[in-house]
Subunit: 208 residues, 2 copies
């Protein structure tokens, strides 16, 4: 290889290693934040947990806020991969809505993070603190409810349920799931059954 | 006064001042925890905020966990005084259920604490950490849902609603209120309207 190609390859290697380290750190940040909150994240703490140098973690993230934002983004990607995408196999409308709820229940029952649902664990911590972290968590909430509302509208259009206020029912389903996540953390095994029964009550049977 | 009575009066005064300081500190702890979480409470932080000596606060509470428990207890007393007791003026059954929900909405709209509902702000922080703080917050959740369920059962008995699963509907109402609290913190003004409309949907009209 020419000197230039060797230098380029070395630089590519550094970038790749940097991206991999960034992912490793962000994933660990999600675990820590799911139990202790995003406020508990610090560059020194994560470096110590992972046996990395503090200056190395500092170079990758720059600030505590960037670390918090990287954790929110990593949790969002995992949520899309584990909850949203598997449900895409179901037909649009009521089947996909039920698939989304069921994959969410599986996610809350055998959580990917020690503290359960990441958004439920962190949003109440940041909902009164304006800034980019709150905005990112609010966007997650908005996008999730919009996804549920879209399937509810499709269910009405398909004649799978009677007419309903899709935005209101999406808000109620999200409220139920968040409450069930907390109840599961507190050891209430009946929370999942409550979600399923409440969901049935929120979906009016079509009259025709 | 005899020397003994002087000593007793001085001791009573110290106890009274101690109880008053304890209340002042616990109330400030509720304010701090409603925004920053119970983890942010420390004896040094509260002493500094209130211009008290750290050793004085230490003598009154002993440990960070006792300070957290005092905050949970102070928030519970305020909730009883501001949300539960005012609703007792309404007749038992549906009127009192609606009064409880309306006084809860007023509490979430113009919160007593800078971070909104104390339980919503702190339960997700502690739901994965077994111990007396989690137990105290879980008791608050249980008691509040039991109160709602009792009025729902009374509403059915009074013929004010058709038959319903009181425990399930109480879980749903609490889920809605918690979600509305978070939505209000994020600036969603329509959250209150959603709660009222969703509540109507949860209360089946009596058939007779």
């Amino acid at each position: 290889m020419s000197e230039q190609r060797v230098a380029t390859a070395a630089s590519d290697g550094r970038l790749l290693r940097g991206a991999r380290s960034r992912r490793t750190i962000a994933r660990h940040a999600v675990d820590v934040a799911s139990v202790e909150g995003l406020t508990a994240l610090s560059i020194g703490r994560l470096a110590a947990d992972l046996g990395m140098s503090k200056s190395g973690v500092q170079a990758l993230f720059g600030s505590k806020e960037n670390l918090q934002l990287a954790a929110v983004e990593a949790a969002r990607e995992t949520f899309l991969a584990e909850v949203v995408r598997p449900a895409a196999a179901a037909a649009r409308g009521l089947p996909r809505l039920r698939a989304l709820v069921e994959s969410w229940i599986a996610y809350a029952e055998s959580p990917l993070y020690p503290g359960g649902c990441f958004r439920v664990a962190t949003l109440p911590e940041f909902d009164s603190r304006p800034g980019p972290v709150r905005d990112a968590l609010a966007r997650d909430t908005h996008d999730w409810q919009a996804l549920l509302a879209a399937e509810l509208r499709r269910a009405v259009a398909n004649g799978e349920t009677a007419d309903l206020d899709a935005e209101l029912v999406a808000f109620q389903i999200d409220a139920l799931l968040c409450a069930a996540n907390t109840a599961l953390r507190l050891g209430d095994e009946r929370a999942v059954d409550k979600v399923r029964r409440a969901l049935d009550g929120l979906l009016p049977v079509p009259t025709r």
